[in-house]
Symmetry: C2
Subunit: 387 residues, 2 copies
Amino acid sequence: MSVTSPKGFRAAGVAAGLKSTGKPDVALVVNDGPLKNAAAVFTSNRVAAAPVYWSRQVVGDGRADAVVLNSGGANACTGALGFQNTHATAELAAGLLGVSAADVLVCSTGLIGEQLPMDKLLPGLEAAFGRLAADGGPEAAQAIMTTDTVCKEVAHRSEAGWHVGGMAKGAGMLAPALATMLVVLTTDAELTAAELDAALREACRLSFDRADSDGCMSTNDTVILLASGASGVRPDPADFQTQLTSACQSLAQALIRDAEGASHDIAIRVFNAASETEAVAVAKAVARSNLFKTAIFGNDPNWGRVLSAVGTVPESQAAFHPDRLNVSINGVQICRNGGIGDSRDLVDLSPREVAVDIDLNAGSAEATIWTNDLTHDYVHENSAYSS
Amino acid sequence: MSVTSPKGFRAAGVAAGLKSTGKPDVALVVNDGPLKNAAAVFTSNRVAAAPVYWSRQVVGDGRADAVVLNSGGANACTGALGFQNTHATAELAAGLLGVSAADVLVCSTGLIGEQLPMDKLLPGLEAAFGRLAADGGPEAAQAIMTTDTVCKEVAHRSEAGWHVGGMAKGAGMLAPALATMLVVLTTDAELTAAELDAALREACRLSFDRADSDGCMSTNDTVILLASGASGVRPDPADFQTQLTSACQSLAQALIRDAEGASHDIAIRVFNAASETEAVAVAKAVARSNLFKTAIFGNDPNWGRVLSAVGTVPESQAAFHPDRLNVSINGVQICRNGGIGDSRDLVDLSPREVAVDIDLNAGSAEATIWTNDLTHDYVHENSAYSS
């Protein structure tokens, strides 16, 4: 259950000394083909890290032979030297693998605004190359963790004989159109780069883009999809889309479950909306409300804060009438027609999973956004950890 | 230094039993004229409280004789009965004062989604009427406090002989286009309702709209300006605007200083922007970043989180190039040309006041947004207090 579950991939992870803890911090994922097709989605943050600039160029032609990933440093806001360091990393990997540097993707995560210790990173990359193995996926997944408390991997096997595998790094800080997260997905299905690109964008739209832990969007977010074609099977397009979306949703929910300091995982479902886009807009407004998120931390089914957040969405972004809104929390309809519904005492917020269902009474579309509560531990971790 | 500092006003505040603590919770402010001109600005939240719907109607003709305010209950999401209760409150005040209920403004603050205890509120209003006094401003200001730790009042005296006074309630939860706050401003200058309206909107734009504590916008936000004309002086328009804006800025900063659980007051100044609107957009993006706000709580001059927040602003909303951004925190330019600047060790974040200066290098406009850090106490207060 990793990036090496599909055929045609090798991976490795090593401790190169970038992290002061001595934990693994450099990973390498190699596509041995026969296909070397690739697609990627990057952060929309205008302040993007050097590896994002580099990898955007690399994936432009739809081919990638390998991905180098490091934790322990984001290589963001590091100027020309930072870009040179990313380039040097790709060059070393290319030399070791006998491929072109222009086909080596690079990802970094960690503190912004510090140069990478190349005297540690490059030897680490050589060591990872020496450890490359067809079962190396799990140790690669270990090496990209930062504040993650669990390793995040996924794999699906199709009855048609092809596979999808993946790993992700990220713990909270999830936001619109990606997050402080790195994701590498692999498949041994036979697909063109254009098919990978379309499938990846659709899968991200319904997974990572629906996870919103604290509304903060990172400089380094990257989701990569590599296809080796090693299964020799050309998949049914709809079947592949379903499996890829499912893998991304599985990883997205693992990211939310591991969000920094969270004590509740919250699914905000907006239904009876005029369109899916409008449902997303309303759900995100609630997911971004610190008042709502602290209430859930306090096990307080405070539907007034839900309505107050819903009300901040302009009419141009979502149709609804305040007097026709219904809100249920964990199955209890505590707000009916914009006013007082069933007793809030009936709501049990002791489970970690919280379901908030918002009925806009304005159509038939729906969408769900996953988020977390805002806790003491969130404040503690993010005030103590520089990133 | 209160709403009764200008001539022509009386006020009172009493404990009616709406608050379980027994503290004052009903206030009355009366304009004895000769003018009864009024203007008001309300929350743009589409889920607005009953008193907001009522007061919007009242102020429509530019006249108001009195304002009734209560804490201990927001009367929001309370349906038809909630609106009837607001109406009944205005009717009682009108009867006591010998004016029309259609000229009595009503404001409420407290928990959303519960009906007001009218058996306590109405007797409290009668008691407040009995205590009306020309020096009653301070006790009215006391009666509108909720989680406020200090009473917020202001007064300015013009050399031309007219005055501006004001009181505010609110502690954090400040947001775009108003906040969970109630503000009553008074003046004895001679001004028409249209003049009051224009001056109030401009003053709010440069004060309350620039205070953004946690991005949450309330159902009840109201800013009222009453003019008695009792000074007999028609003010110089520019002079009045300056004094009114100054009074609103003073109250807005008092709200930020008293924000729930904050340990730092942060002034985010964006300069060299292409326009003031663009400067505001960038400063608000930083003010909304929980990662930035927790870093400041941790006394961590984490400029990477500032840049990361700046980068989330789309090109359509603000022109800048990531490689030309400079950021100073408390006077130390720790980010230069989008990269590493002076040492972060030089930044002293021990003072409560924090100045973040962001140079967009894209023009000559600027704006400042005031906000707070995100602390353990914010989480504690907002998870324990229902509102």
